[in-house]
Point group: D2
Chain length 382, copies 4
């Protein structure tokens, strides 16, 4: 297990009282001791920001992200934060990330990266210019068995990929939860001003896109999308169904839904190659199913010696001692820490992955509004 | 268990030596003693037809279906076959079914019913005129838990249906099996002259269409299809991916593939309503998963007292004593026998179901050749 | 698929109206056309015996088994039954089997074979003397994947067997069902006069014993048993837990219970060898799990080319088209038919298997009444 | 999620370089920020102890546990460690725990607690006298769904418990790994001097005992045990099979094995009551199966509103976002932290649970050496 003697100093924007995902990021950062949280501007409401920092016993609580940027920049390099983690609603990703990146801080940003291709391109440009590390928390890419699936495809174990089916099935928005006044998660996620142009497709469809890209390495050529809003009064899609065409001839299906009653967090993928196939389910994450043309089905489980190096490096425990969501999330933080420490092979989702996700959301919305069957996927812009 | 004192007299067209599906039909017919096979024209090759009849110890073997039609018609009503089962490759369904139906025999026909909407309409017309019973062996509709799913939807247990995902995943045609010279199944199924205009979409996509229609009762409004032929040299699609629009606003996904390496006969369906959802898998057929908005997931299993009457009537064994493919197939035969015996509530797939399946295949092929996103589903023709 | 031109003529004793298992046997006999039922003494109540025969359209209905024995013996060899199937409550197995065997009829008898070791020895002797075929319907041994497990052990694929865990978990007798007056199954099964000295251990523990013996080929050396009656007023055990010692040093656990609420028919076995292990569950019978020292877990599924010849011969359908309880039961009937037809390699449970099962029940009851930890298993008597 | 502003100061004995479990404890302590590791005597080899402390960037590294005890005791209360975590091989638990407890430090000790009943009684006495908090890391008791199972039993949801089957199946010692010279885990675990009188029964059987006691609340009355050493040259049992009698009439089976090839860390339990049953598997820990007399099987999953307060308090993430081994382990640490903070309802395994586990191991070994069927379970000594 990874237990560095000195964790990196981390600041956080967003993630105060009532915010679920902030705690997830903090736990992921702390789990392997890769980061230590020392500063935070944890809410857009100054009082709440300060109170939340006090709740957590933070060394330096700030009333706003601008104050944090100014305050940290004024500290000596040996004291100031080395990276900032941005866990606000989506609409704040762009300004905060841009400002911290331009100031030379490493950035960890939640997904989807930003609202538009233009914003994403701008961040990508800044990252290239400044040389900072910029990680996007596509946390599911941190699962060891996802890394193993990626390796098996890359090594040709299932042959040329013909087809991928990726699904993200949820049911928590099957009713109009955002109107209850008691669920902040649902409020901003169904609000275009904060969430962006995509509802389910942005919130979870982007994870599905990242998963299929991570594992297969395939590049999208065109999409055929239908976005539906089933719950009356909702302003964004809560169900997305897509046919996919990849460059080189592979085909795909992507579905992302938040109205599938009873589904919890059922992200799953199947990849079919010419000589084998792979299946992985997020709710049963320690297992990867490998099927072949002739022999019995193989169940690969995390922690075994037959797995590749990336899966091994992302594991803490022996086989049969399950690791799960937080550990995978911590792997993303660990990969970003590796990059900050200068490891050229650091394994984490970059700003380019984030930008591609934004292009995917925009292309999907464009397709959903079109009568043409296929809408080309443009990324990067050319 | 159903064990009638007198089985109905059955004749069979097709299903001789080397034909897999003939034996399945005979077993299904015999399993509950609902039918007894007394006559057959089991091959299009006269010698093989006669030899096959002898293999089976058939009372009356014929060299051709025309000979059988003539021979049986000449017998006294108390001796002649009461129904004919047509288990030939698809292209022979139409002429044989038409001739026997016009002669007043009840007909059991494999799916897909025929090659074209026009043929289907003609058969439908003949059935209406003659009053014969005409069953189409959409065998998966015979599973008790499929009947239970149908009941739960009809009773409103999951609320108004919003979305259905139906899949038929197979991998047996991932390589060019039809070129091996050793697999008759693959030969005619990939030959447009015998199979019709659809490959995977006709062979198994039609089962998926029937399953979603049977369970949900939804009517298709339009489809958006992509058909792909992955295996070089193959003349029909081996992979089909569709977005579905149903009348009333429900959405769907249908995939049918025969190139998904390692998948055996993975027909599965999920139906999402406003207040609940249902999941069923053909390879684990004794179980139905019912999820709800609030409570724990429910696993319903065949043979229990909490199931509805249709599921109960379709079961032979107590819970935990699994029933499977042949029993479901036998349920279709039993439903047809009920209809022949005059039961107005007999439960089996009719010529109308078969005709709808043909319209589905044709619409899908039309959509696959179109640049429009949505191709309207016309059925019945108007 | 097996479809003989001429089925063997079968008679049945027991299995009339209200008797569940009779119908199972008849279906198993008919499914592959290996037998045709032509005569029956279907109840110990003459009127019911005759009415039941009429229900089934039997050619020859008898008022008693003695009448059937006499009547059939009087027929010409080409007409009389070739085998008798005994599906009565246990206490009638011995006299009926003995009489038919002595008269030279082949016998198919339900399990447990008889009440005592002495009766079993007597039947074994008669079978040896007369040369008849005598099959005992340990139906679970008919599953293809049980045959495959047997093969893998015999071929040394998992190395020398060290341990076996076999369970038969049911819950249907968790309440005093036999006092309801509405469940004949439970009435005779909990009545020592009809069921024998074992309750759960006799009814289902005997299946567990047969399964472990069939798959591993191990011979019992001693047992340490606890039998419990949980339901007040019940006269036989409804829960049995045993430690097992096999000859050669292997160890085992056997549990058989009918009070495990919610368990349906959960017969399962795990066999651990020096280099591999096997797991099989009756409720998911088309799958066999094979684990090894180093590699991924292997899921073997029925219908694939990598299986051995016994599993292949016991299958009717391709992979993914599940076969289940009735098909396995039919395989036992088919094996007996093979033996009657003279096949020296016919694969079915014999009178010796049945006698061993009786010895197992008696040894278990003896152990349960003893303070010694280990009670030696004597079989055959010496 | 639990994120205290101030973590408790923790010291650690054992867990240096090459020691697997130390890192698990540190991660569990850190995951929720309930503890911060500030001191350590991480190895019995002084140089390694100091080097290991440096690896981890520990504030205060000590060469021996005695030095740590002395050094910490000399610090001001606001600086010194508040608790010590003992993660050495078993034989060191007793002296270290005794010394720190007597000095007034709270103690967290790995399982099995100590080697003998007498040692356990002595520690229990010291805890009572000093009033310190003493937690034993039966980590599996920390799983939310184990807490839910405990609640359902306590609330009478499954009625009076009749039977429990608890298993801990592993295969990693199927070969003589301890002779490879490359696996420290296996070396001390198979060495009686360090591991104690039990091999598999002590290492993992003790977890099984704790699990069944935690969930059911039943007290053991007597055991009937067989301990086997399958691997030649090994000095402790590697396979344990027990029949259990609980006070009040319930029955049980316990198996703990480390030679079951291919089993990873398969701890599982089934509890059967008069009106319901529960099943939980450690390798699929977010799910609890609840079966009833009449209705469908219920799948309860972590994170849902229908669960009880203990399960809810032990969860960090919404349903479908799996939590696993480290999170459960962290829950044990969190419970101990609660107790240190004075919470009278703190939920964690105490020294009494640890002492009962020792009595269980000793009773089992005694039974295994006895020809009597039942060996009484004495605890506490009277």
């Amino acid at each position: 297990m990874r237990e560095p003697a000195r964790p990196l100093r981390l600041g956080m924007v967003g993630g105060g009282r009532d915010a679920f995902i902030g705690s997830v990021h903090r736990t992921a950062a702390r789990l392997d001791n890769t980061f230590v949280l020392v500063a935070g501007a944890l809410s857009s409401t100054p009082e709440k920001a300060l109170a939340s920092a006090e709740d957590l016993g933070l060394a330096r609580g700030y009333a706003s992200w601008e104050a944090m940027l100014e305050g940290e920049a004024a500290l000596r390099p040996s004291e100031r934060i080395e990276a900032v983690s941005i866990v606000t609603p989506n609409h704040m990703h762009y300004p905060v990330a841009k400002a911290f990146a331009q100031a030379g801080f490493h950035v960890i940003c939640d997904k989807p990266l930003v609202h538009t291709r233009e914003q994403a391109a701008e961040l990508t440009r800044i990252v290239a210019e400044t040389g900072i590390v910029f990680g996007v928390t596509y946390n599911y890419s941190g699962y060891p068995m996802v890394k193993e699936a990626r390796r098996l495809v890359a090594d040709g174990v299932i042959g040329k990929v013909r087809k991928a089916i990726v699904e993200y099935n949820q049911g928590w928005l099957a009713t109009r939860l955002e109107a209850s006044g008691e669920n902040k998660q649902s409020e901003w996620r169904t609000d275009p001003a904060r969430s962006g142009s995509g509802g389910a497709i942005g919130d979870i469809g982007s994870h599905a896109e990242n998963l299929v890209a991570t594992i297969t390495g395939l590049e999208l050529e065109a999409v055929c999308a239908e976005l539906t809003t089933f719950v009356e009064g909702r302003r964004l899609d809560d169900d997305a169904n897509l046919l996919l065409r990849f460059k080189g001839g592979a085909r795909g299906i992507l579905t992302a839904s938040q109205i599938e009653v009873g589904e919890e967090n059922d992200l799953r993928i199947r990849v079919y190659g010419e000589t084998g196939s792979l299946t992985w389910h997020q709710e049963d994450p320690n297992r990867l199913v490998h099927k072949t043309l002739e022999g019995p089905t193989q169940l690969l489980t995390r922690g075994n010696g037959y797995l590749g190096s990336a899966a091994a490096a992302a594991s803490r425990l022996p086989a049969g001692h399950p690791e799960a969501f937080l550990e995978a999330f911590a792997n993303v933080y660990a990969g970003i820490a590796d990059a900050i420490h200068g490891d050229p092979n650091a394994d984490y989702p970059t700003v380019v992955d984030g930008a591609r996700g934004v292009a995917f959301i925009e292309t999907t919305v464009e397709s959903a509004n079109s009568d043409r069957k296929w809408t080309p996927f443009r990324f990067p812009d050319s």
